[in-house]
C-alpha cells in the first residue's frame, strides 16, 4: 500500500479531545485562517475539485451538494448546515471515533461548509446513546465560542455562525437526512417525501446542507493542503481516505483509515491480521444492514465507489462485517430483517407490512421451507413502493445473498 496521510484520524489518540489548545498546537483551525484570503466561491471550487463524496452512505459528491445548497432560494435570509451524527447503521462506529478523539475537527469542517454556503446556523444531530461524544462536543462547542471560533465575526473572516447540539433518541430512521430534519424540528421521526431535497427546502423550509461527520472531517485537509494533495489519495473516481469499520470474525477489529481502493483481501489479511481461530472466510457484509453481501470471489475487488457499483455492491457507511464459515448466515439474515421490522416507522404500508412478512418468512424453522423467491419479490416490491429509503433497503442484503449463496441450505 502506498503511503498516505491520515485525514479523519490524524490526531486520534495523540491529543486530548477536550483541549482546544491541543487542537491549535497540532495545526487545528489553520484552514479557517486560510479562509480570510478566500471567497465562498473559491472554497466551493476547491471542494468540488477534491472529488470528495459523502461518507454517510450514499456517496453523493459533496461539492455539488454544497453548490446546490448555496445557490437555491437566493432570497432566503437563512441557510443551515446540519451534521448527521446519528450513526445507527449496524456495523458502523467511525463517526463516534472522530467525535470521541477529535471533536474540534468536525467543528472546523462545519465552519468551512458554513462559509462556503453562507450559512447562519449549524446544528449537530447526534445519537442520544453516544454519551462520551455528546460530552466532548458540548465541551468543544463551548471552547470554540470562548476562543472566537464560533459566534459573531469569526476570526474576522466575515462569518457569523451559531452552533447547537441536538440529540436523537434511538431511531435508526432519523439518520435519513429528511427524517433527521423532522426530528431536529422536535417532531416524531416520520420521513418527508423527496423532492424537495434539503438543499431546496430543509430545516424549517430553508436551504440546508446535510453531511455526515466523516465528510466534514475531510474539509480542513482539503482547504489547508489544497485539492491537489487530496486527489493523490484513492482511485480514479473515489478520492481520499475512508474509515472502514471492521467487525466480525477477524483477529483485529476496529476502525481503520485507509485510502479508497484498498481490497477486501488486504483489509482482512494485511490490516486485520486474518481470520480468527483458523476458520475460513465465507462472506463480508458491506455497508451494514442496508448493505450487500460479497463472497470469496469478491476478495480482490477494490473498495471504491465505482468498482463496487460495477459489481452491484455498496460501500455504504464503511461497515465491513466479516463472516466465517462456522457462522449461520440464516440467523444473520433473520437478525437483519428483524432490525428493519423494528425500525420501520409504520407511516407507509409497503414497509410496515413488508418488513413483517420478510421476517415471518425467514423465521421458518425448516430452512428448506424458506421461499427465496418470496423474499426477493416482496423486497423488490417494497423497494418500488415504499415512501422512504428504509423500505427500499431490505432488497440489498436479500438480493446479494441470493446471488452468492442461492438459499439457506
Amino acid at each position: 500500500m502506498k503511503s498516505f496521510p491520515l485525514i479523519s484520524l490524524a490526531r486520534s489518540g495523540k491529543v486530548n479531545p477536550k483541549s482546544i489548545e491541543d487542537y491549535l498546537n497540532t495545526g487545528g483551525f489553520e484552514a479557517i485562517k486560510k479562509l480570510s484570503s478566500m471567497s465562498p466561491e473559491s472554497v466551493l471550487d476547491e471542494i468540488e475539485k477534491s472529488g470528495l463524496r459523502g461518507r454517510g452512505g450514499a456517496g453523493f459528491p459533496t461539492g455539488l451538494k454544497q453548490r446546490f445548497t448555496s445557490s437555491s432560494c437566493l432570497s432566503c435570509e437563512k441557510r443551515y448546515v446540519v451534521c448527521n451524527a446519528d450513526e445507527g447503521e449496524p456495523g458502523t462506529f467511525k463517526d463516534r471515533m472522530i467525535m470521541e478523539t477529535d471533536p474540534f475537527l468536525l467543528i472546523e469542517g462545519m465552519i468551512i461548509a458554513a462559509f462556503a454556503i453562507r450559512a447562519t446556523n449549524a446544528y449537530i444531530y447526534i445519537r442520544g446513546e453516544y454519551y462520551p461524544s455528546i460530552e466532548n462536543l458540548e465541551n468543544a462547542i463551548k471552547q470554540c465560542y470562548d476562543k472566537g471560533f464560533l459566534g459573531k465575526n469569526i476570526l474576522n473572516i466575515g462569518l457569523n455562525l451559531e452552533m447547537g447540539l441536538f440529540k436523537g433518541a434511538g431511531s435508526y430512521l432519523c439518520g435519513e437526512e429528511l427524517t433527521l430534519l423532522e426530528s431536529l424540528e422536535g417532531k416524531r421521526g416520520y420521513p418527508r417525501i423527496k423532492p424537495p431535497f434539503p438543499a431546496e427546502k430543509g430545516l424549517w423550509g430553508y436551504p440546508t446542507l446535510v453531511n455526515n461527520v466523516e465528510t466534514f472531517s475531510h474539509l480542513p485537509f482539503i482547504i489547508s493542503n489544497g485539492s491537489e494533495d487530496y486527489i493523490k489519495i484513492g482511485t480514479a473516481e473515489s478520492k481520499g481516505t475512508k474509515l472502514f469499520c471492521v467487525s466480525g470474525n477477524v483477529n483485529k477489529t476496529g476502525v481503520f483509515e485507509l485510502p479508497l481502493g484498498v481490497t477486501l483481501r488486504e483489509l482482512i489479511f494485511d490490516v486485520c491480521g486474518g481470520m480468527k481461530d483458523g476458520y475460513k472466510f465465507k462472506a463480508a457484509l458491506l455497508g451494514g444492514a442496508a448493505g450487500t453481501f460479497a463472497d470469496q470471489s469478491m476478495l480482490d475487488i477494490a473498495l471504491a465507489y465505482e468498482t463496487l457499483k460495477k459489481e452491484g455492491l455498496t460501500l455504504g457507511s464503511g461497515a465491513v462485517i466479516i463472516v466465517d464459515d462456522k457462522t449461520d448466515l440464516k440467523k444473520m439474515m433473520k437478525s437483519i430483517l428483524h432490525f428493519f421490522k423494528h425500525e420501520s416507522c409504520g407511516k407507509c404500508v409497503p414497509c410496515r407490512i413488508g418488513t413483517r412478512l420478510l421476517l415471518n418468512e425467514i423465521s421458518k424453522q425448516n430452512s428448506a421451507e424458506i421461499d427465496m423467491n418470496f423474499l426477493l419479490n416482496e423486497s423488490e416490491y417494497m423497494a418500488k413502493t415504499s415512501l422512504c429509503p428504509l423500505g427500499q433497503s431490505p432488497v440489498l442484503p436479500i438480493k446479494s445473498y441470493i446471488r452468492f449463496f442461492k438459499n439457506f441450505q
Partner: protein, 154 residues
C-alpha cells in the same frame, strides 16, 4: 412510587428556550432526572406549558423514540444490543440469561427493583461484540460470566 420534584422539572425546563426543537433535549434530561427513568404525566404537562404543545404532540414524540420510557423502570437500565453483529456473537443468549437471572417481571422490572432490561439496536461497539450498556456505561465482549460479575457491582 417517587416522582420528579415539581420544582426540579421547572428548573430543568428553564434551561431550554421555549421552542419546539428543544423538546427532545429537554425530555432526555427530565427522564434522566426522574427516579424511575420515565416521562410521567407531570413532566408531560409542564412540557406542554413550556413548549406550547398539546399533550398528544408530546405523547407522540415520547412513544415514537425508543429511548423514552412511558412506564416506570428499575433503578438501572440494562440495554442489550440486538443488532446483527452482536446477535451473531451471542447477545440473544445474554438477554435470556439476564431476564431469568434478574427475575424480570411483566412490567420489565427485576424482582429487587434494581434493573430493567431493554433490547436495543447497534450501540456502535460492534468491533468488540456482543455489547451492552448499563445506564450510560458501555461493556463489550460480554460473556454470561462477565455479565454476572458486572451486574453484581450495581
Amino acid at each position: 412510587m417517587q416522582s420528579l420534584n415539581f420544582n426540579l422539572i421547572k428548573e430543568i425546563l428553564m434551561k431550554y428556550p421555549q421552542k419546539k426543537e428543544y423538546l427532545i433535549n429537554a425530555l432526555h434530561e427530565l427522564q434522566n432526572a426522574h427516579p424511575h427513568k420515565y416521562i410521567d404525566d407531570a413532566i408531560m404537562d409542564e412540557c406542554c406549558k413550556h413548549f406550547k404543545l398539546t399533550k398528544s404532540q408530546i405523547f407522540g414524540v415520547i412513544t415514537y423514540y425508543t429511548m423514552f420510557n412511558t412506564k416506570p423502570q428499575g433503578q438501572n437500565i440494562i440495554y442489550v444490543c440486538n443488532s446483527p453483529i452482536c446477535s451473531n456473537m451471542g447477545s440473544d443468549n445474554l438477554y435470556d440469561i439476564l431476564k431469568q437471572k434478574l427475575k424480570i417481571n411483566d412490567n420489565n422490572i427485576s424482582e429487587d427493583g434494581k434493573f430493567s432490561l431493554q433490547k436495543v439496536e447497534c450501540l456502535g461497539r460492534c468491533g468488540k461484540a456482543p455489547s451492552i450498556m448499563i445506564n450510560r456505561e458501555i461493556y463489550t465482549g460480554m460473556t454470561p460470566e462477565k455479565i454476572e460479575e458486572i451486574i453484581s457491582k450495581y
